[in-house]
């Protein structure tokens, strides 16, 4: 018997009950993204009973699944047809669900070249703060009717409603994939990456630890082969990128607080206390540092970026300018007037 079920009515009922009784809800799938965001006090709304792939047609490049579907199931279904989620969502545990992947909006190593989780969202079904199950976007690549609520929900951490179903754009897996390791310092690596970024090279991941630049090349045989010849270095196992995505590299095995720094493409090395690992060709950097949050955020903001603290913290996300915060509050008030969805998960004021 299949365990895939449409349980949207139950979810909707729980939301309506919460609305009628002024109960805050903590929306949760596999709870694998609990390491991000502020703690939420509230009744758990567990999405995992609402699961299953609703439709998947490889020739349309669209997959629709219920929010509680395990990410691993989706990836297995795609793998079977030689396709993939191009944004490589981090799982952070075996129980990760599609809903959590989209609500957290996280993307893996391919992000700068293939786009983010948000970029691949085509449509959603959403349980709203008015107790309705509504549909936005759709299952087509291009759709500009009405406001783009579906993409707004990506990365909203459940603060604007309950994601019940998501339609995603998927892509064929590249025919060839080779991973390389080159010995060079961080400054040199950033220089090279800025140069290579302007050329049609088939790079699909680039990471630098203190000594080596790791590259993944993906594409047709010809382009990957010629890029390999040009770049040199030593071949490595492509599972390296999964280890990086899942924070399973030795770098992450640390007691130091973990920070994610999001920076403009061509940012130089940042002088911050602690250890750094460069990802996304330098646009995402992992920092292990006990430095005060204000200091880290100041340095990163001056470089045009923002810093996110992983793990328990009072302000995990970079505070917003006052005016921008006001519009966040306005939006929250309009879409979740009673403030029942993950209150405070993003910011105390939202």
């Amino acid at each position: 018997m299949s365990i895939d079920h449409d349980h949207s009515t139950d979810l909707l009922e729980q939301v309506n009950h919460a609305l009628n009784n002024a109960i805050a809800l903590r929306i949760q799938g596999g709870n694998s993204k609990a390491l991000l965001g502020r703690p939420v006090q509230g009744e758990v709304l567990d999405t995992r009973s609402h699961r299953g792939i609703v439709s998947y047609d490889p020739t349309e490049l669209v997959l629709t699944a219920r929010a509680g579907t395990p990410l691993a199931d989706i990836e297995a279904a795609l793998e079977e047809k030689g396709q993939m989620l191009p944004f490589e969502p981090p799982h952070f545990g075996p129980d990760a669900t599609l809903g959590g992947a989209i609500a957290s909006g996280l993307s893996g190593p391919r992000r700068p070249w293939a786009g983010s989780a948000r970029d691949h969202v085509l449509g959603t079904r959403l349980i709203t703060g008015h107790g309705k199950l509504l549909r936005f976007g759709g299952e087509v690549m291009k759709n500009v009717a009405g406001y783009d609520l579906s993409r707004l929900l990506a990365g909203s951490f459940g603060c604007l409603g309950v994601l019940a179903e998501v339609s995603l754009k998927v892509l064929p897996k590249p025919r060839t994939c080779v991973s390389l390791k080159l010995q060079m310092g961080a400054a040199e690596a950033l220089c090279e990456l800025a140069e290579w970024g302007q050329q049609p090279l088939p790079i699909s991941a680039a990471c630098h630890d203190s000594e080596h630049l790791y590259l993944r090349l993906e594409g047709g045989e010809g382009s990957v082969k010629s890029a390999c010849q040009r770049l040199g270095g030593e071949r490595i196992d492509s599972r390296y990128w999964t280890q990086l995505r899942e924070h399973r590299l030795p770098f992450f095995a640390s007691e130091q607080p973990l920070w994610r720094l999001s920076l403009p493409n061509s940012s130089p090395c940042l002088d911050l206390p602690g250890e750094q690992l460069l990802d996304w060709g330098g646009a995402q950097r992992w920092l292990l540092s006990a430095a005060p949050a204000e200091e880290i955020r100041q340095v990163v903001a001056a470089a045009g970026g923002h810093a996110t603290r992983y793990g328990a913290h009072e302000t995990p996300f970079q505070p917003l300018p006052a005016l921008l915060l006001r519009y966040h509050q306005n939006l929250k008030k309009q879409l979740d007037p009673q403030g029942i969805f993950n209150p405070g998960r993003l910011y105390a004021e939202v």
């Binding site: 490889p58 020739t59 349309e60 490049l61 909006g105 786009g115 948000r118 970029d119 709203t128 008015h130 309705k132 936005f136 759709g138 299952e139 087509v140 690549m141 291009k142 759709n143 500009v144 009717a145 009405g146 406001y147 783009d148 609520l149 993409r151 707004l152 990506a154 990365g155 064929p172 025919r175 800025a194 970024g197 302007q198 049609p200 090279l201 594409g219 047709g220 010809g222 382009s223 010629s226 920076l263 403009p264 493409n265 061509s266 646009a283 045009g304 970026g305 996300f317 505070p319 005016l323 921008l324 915060l325 519009y327 966040h328 306005n330 939006l331 879409l335 993003l346 910011y347 939202v350």
Partner: protein, 499 residues
Amino acid sequence: MNILYDERVDGALPNVDKPRLLGKLRQALPDLEILHSAEDLRPYECDGLSAYRVVPLLVVLPERLEQVQTLLRLCHAEQVPVVARGAGTGLSGGALPLEKGILLVMARFNRIIEVNPEGRFARVQPGVRNLAISQAAAPHGLYYAPDPSSQIACSIGGNVAENAGGVHCLKYGLTVHNLLRVDILTVEGEHLTLGSDALDSPGFDLLALFTGSEGMLGIVTEVTVKLLPKPQVARVLLASFDSVEQAGRAVADIIGAGIIPGGLEMMDNLSIRAAEDFIHAGYPVDAAAMLLCELDGVEADVREDCERVDAVLRQAGASDVRLARDEAERVRFWAGRKNAFPAVGRISPDYYCMDGTIPRRELPAVLRGIEELSGQFGLRVANVFHAGDGNMHPLILFDANQPGELERAEALGAKILELCVAVGGSITGEHGVGREKINQMCAQFSSEEITLFHAVKHAFDPQGLLNPGKNIPTLHRCAEFGSMHIHQGKLPFPDLERF
């Protein structure tokens, strides 16, 4: 049902005393160019959807952001609606003026602020033309990917407002996928930065929400776009088919083979013949349908993919497959497609361009449906189709000088869009809702969904002063529209008062 702003169903607009407003504007903004006489206002009465014309109350042509800011503050204080406009090339009437509103023309903000090859971005003012960005990036081997067919003239601010597309969307995405950051002024004239120079930013993804919001949530004042390395080579294959079904299957087979073409376009026989007569591109005039498949990237991969696609096309039953021999032939193959609209314009006094999207598998059924509707309404329809991403552009041929033909063309267009919705598609893939598809929004969305759209609007512009009447219909309009389109014997919006 008429699409022009109708206060009875679209909501009352504040009455503005024009001389008084003009006086206030001149006092607050002595160096702002303001157009107010009938003959000066006339050129601004429409955008690219020229069948609909409204003379605006006033037109303002600011050159500095402080002027826009002061203007917005003043309009907010005085409760004057503001319609923003860029180059005015939009095809859905998104910049259609209001009799009771100011038309804010952003075209003079046409400076490219920075092209940064290392950071792979360009920072530009909203009036910069789409193509001008790629031209400025070209010396660095970079370009801006979205290429709406109006790219010579359309401005990036409008591209953001409409989430413009083009022929390369399947591989390279829409405008929303190619933006880093957009700076806006709110209805109250406050400056907000959405997105950032980094790949993401903290908080809600307001950049995604804002893109395609049709000037309803704020005014674009600066845009930072991503630049991509120009593909080394691009090659194009032209395939002829004896039936539209076969061509549709071939598209699915190409994608099923794991190939994502840079562009994948389909034309039906009427468009093929019209384009061939006009451009002499060497199109197969006897074919029921043809596909143009462009593969771009690194030389070795493209060569390999061309062979693969050639085999797939022949397997799918193509009667002829030709690879453009050289760049000149490639450009000629594309010229026919890119000039399909004006080509159709030569065989008919007027044509009306639709913009629905469908899941690709529905193509044969939808084309059959269009053919039936075409017969019913007695108007010819030529079909061009961004086959890769499911975006159709049926062109309805009519003669506006024949009484009733425009109305028939509109009614046929509405039916085609409703057909797209019925098969799981959308009423607009890239042109936007504007005023043109305001009624069809009621077919695509329920009253509750429309209510949520209004809630979003309320978060940014509670008084509804920015581009009123565009993009999202009122429930009253839907109720009236619905009363003409009763589905399954049930009247939608039963709780609403009927007019």
